[in-house]
Symmetry: C2
Subunit: 452 residues, 2 copies
């Protein structure tokens, strides 16, 4: 047995559901389906019930206990009736469940220890004719059930555990990683887990995979996997360039040196204040933290806003002349944009480059603006033939920037409104340590020990 | 009379030679020519004497006292004989003169208070057939004498005085400005001084002027004036982009607000130590000076080497992460590269960006280099999918850079050899003041009051 095969065998012991687990899940799904069908029989319209998701396809990782049932109504049913009937069936199947709302309401609850979603959708002829996003899901299941045998399903489980282990599993907007459906498509596309790793190692982003050879739309993403059931959809749209690189890195590592490590999420020891101070001293940088109460929105809204804010703060600092070494953004009870700066203070003057002297009126206006200003050096002409002045900086410290200039940078909407009302704190240098610990001890531990 | 006409009238009073000055110069040139012809008569070959340069064309500025005589020998004369005969004639014409050497020897001396050059050259049929650079000069004179009337000659004088006043007159490699011949071509091309300023105001560099419509060679310079006597030569080749912009700036200024100022070189008051310290304090920057005894070479060799060294030092500092606000290079007894930095010290770590993870062997080698190095942070993957490490900086201070890293940057040859033998000094911060004053008091005065 090769090293890789031995590792994989051990991982399989962890991720393959036991026969008992399979039987129990199938029995529960079957009872739920019967309940739903009984409730449908009471309705004035016809509908059918389909099990979808990884438990329908046999690709779930041992211990996952999710059952997803979709109730398909005729496509000409008015939306309000679909919602009412869907809720009625849901309440009958999951009497202790509660309604949630995506594009339309669905019912979520527990049944015999399983987390169950019961989702109404339209029974359309093809995934391209869907009336709401959930209508597409049954087509995914049909497509995959036709292609996944037991071996490939087992390899999908390996793939999911691998991506979990390296931290890129999940299409939520915090992770920006790989969905379960995407794992399934990749394993099917390449014919197995190890073949997939071999292919990933050679990826040259942007990578385009088009299982059904639609060759229709074009996408501006580092990884494109065209949905075989919908030519206009990139299943990998949320996967970041960093996560594509991360999976390539670990594919190469695993193939060179097979190890179970890749299948086990890293859990760095939380960082205490002394250790954090020691890193700051050793790096001799200046940390800056902008801290606010986390806006009360779901993670898929919070993290894009937080990342946008981080990028906006970094861009703003750079535009003001600060040298940013690295930055991050985290959320818990509070949300934080953390920026590490080469230095906390800039000189009194800044170089302000104007237009080339040759551009006529525009150049003349720049010159006239500063010609009689005793507070600036210049205007003079630089080596490229542009006007330049050296003028006083408005903002000389990173803390000053964070206290007075955040309104000028692109922030997430809910963070922008807090900033506008002054509802945030700024910490610079050593003050960051007490401000962020212990709440962000894990995030800081990962920050000071960054690994591919 | 317009404002411009009134200003020009006053400048003409300063720059037009008086009739007496013209007569005296013509008489001196005539006597020199006669002496040369007498000396030629003694030689075993035929030759003629031509007066060239601005005094031959009537375009000299009042007070200039240069007479250039060229002795044209047959083009089949061996070079050694041309040199011998040239020196013989020179010695006869200027008994107190001495030999200098460009492409071949010539004689320079004084006669009745005039500075006289007596230069042997070949009498070739066209400027394109020249055997040495000086052979071209008589063709310039012929070309211009056919086109310059008294009015245009007067406008050439205005043009020269204007370019002197704004500091861009001279095709030497320190100034990188406009030669007298270039002034003459521009005034002829545009039909006068004011028409030339109007045209210059609208220049969109790169500017190509081709008086003889050769349309032959192409040049990679911000200003191209194709030599009407030689299609392969750009008369404006040494003019820097900054000087093209400077002349555009002053053309626009003069046309908007005519003033004699433009015709008068600026002479900033020298800077004393207290004033320099006050500027450094106000700007809150860190000055750095690399100082050495000026290499013993002519200015046209020294300044290119000095400018190259300045650019190399600036590039090297930037590559090491320093933020350069402005830089300059000066020479007197000593040569100095002066750099003004935003800060004198950098953090302990630097971001070192490697290849994209996708580039296979190259990426793998980068990863392996650092994977087991406890002294670095990372390798990790950045937002673009590249490997990154944060590693200790070799050089954390600007002074340290200047003391240990100058050997790694592009320097002028004679400066490089001094640096290689450690024959230079480095001053940082306040120490710069005592080190550079009073030798560079004028240069520093211009530095702290930079004007277009």
């Amino acid at each position: 047995m090769t090293d890789a095969a031995a590792v994989i065998e051990r991982v399989r012991q962890r991720v393959d559901p036991t026969p008992a687990e399979r039987r129990a899940l199938a029995a529960a799904a079957s009872r739920l389906t019967e309940r739903a069908e009984a409730a449908i029989a009471e309705l004035p319209v016809a509908a059918d019930v389909v099990q979808v998701g990884s438990t329908a396809r046999g690709t779930w990782v041992a211990g996952d206990r999710d059952i997803d049932l979709f109730v398909r109504f005729p496509s000409d049913l008015p939306r309000e009736q679909l919602e009412t009937y869907g809720t009625t069936v849901g309440a009958a199947v999951l009497p202790d469940g509660h309604e949630e709302y995506a594009e339309h309401p669905y019912v979520t609850g527990t049944f015999e220890g399983y987390a169950v979603d019961l989702v109404p959708c339209y029974d359309v002829a093809a995934a391209t004719e869907i009336k709401s996003a959930v209508d597409r899901t049954p087509f995914h299941t049909t497509y995959l059930q036709e292609r996944l045998d037991d071996d490939l399903a087992a390899d999908v489980r390996l793939c999911k555990q691998f991506l979990k282990g390296i931290g890129v599993y999940g299409s939520d907007l915090r992770t920006q990683g790989f969905s379960g459906y995407l794992c399934e498509l990749l394993v099917v596309e390449y014919g197995g887990f190890q073949a997939m790793l071999a292919a990933i190692e050679d990826w040259q982003p942007p990578v385009v995979i088009d299982p059904a050879a639609h060759q229709q739309a074009s996408f501006d993403d580092p990884l494109v996997v065209v949905d075989p059931t919908d030519p206009e959809r990139n299943v990998a749209a949320v996967v970041s360039a960093a996560n594509v690189a991360t999976v390539q890195h670990h594919a190469r590592r695993f193939r060179a040196t097979p190890s179970e490590d890749a299948f086990t999420p890293a859990s760095p020891a939380p960082l205490d204040a002394a250790a954090l101070r020691s890193h700051i001293d050793r790096r001799d940088t200046t940390p800056l933290a902008v801290v606010l109460d986390a806006p009360d929105v779901v993670a898929d809204q919070l993290y894009p806003q937080l990342y946008r804010s981080r990028d906006g703060v970094v861009r703003g600092l750079r535009e003001h002349g600060f040298d940013v070494v690295r930055a991050a953004a985290w959320a818990d009870e509070r949300a934080v944009v953390f920026v590490e700066l080469a230095s906390a203070e800039l000189p009194a003057v800044e170089r302000h480059v104007g237009p080339p002297v040759s551009v006529g009126t525009h150049a003349e206006r720049f010159y006239e603006t500063y010609a009689d200003d005793d507070g600036v050096y210049g205007p003079f002409v630089d080596d490229d033939g542009r006007y330049v002045v050296e003028r006083d900086r408005d903002v000389r410290t990173a803390g000053g920037f964070a206290r007075t200039e955040l309104g000028t940078v692109a922030l997430g909407a809910r963070i922008e409104s807090r900033v506008a009302s002054g509802d945030y704190d700024v910490y610079v240098g050593d003050a960051v340590v007490e401000a962020l610990l212990p709440e962000f001890e894990s995030e800081l531990a990962a920050y000071v020990d960054p690994k591919a």
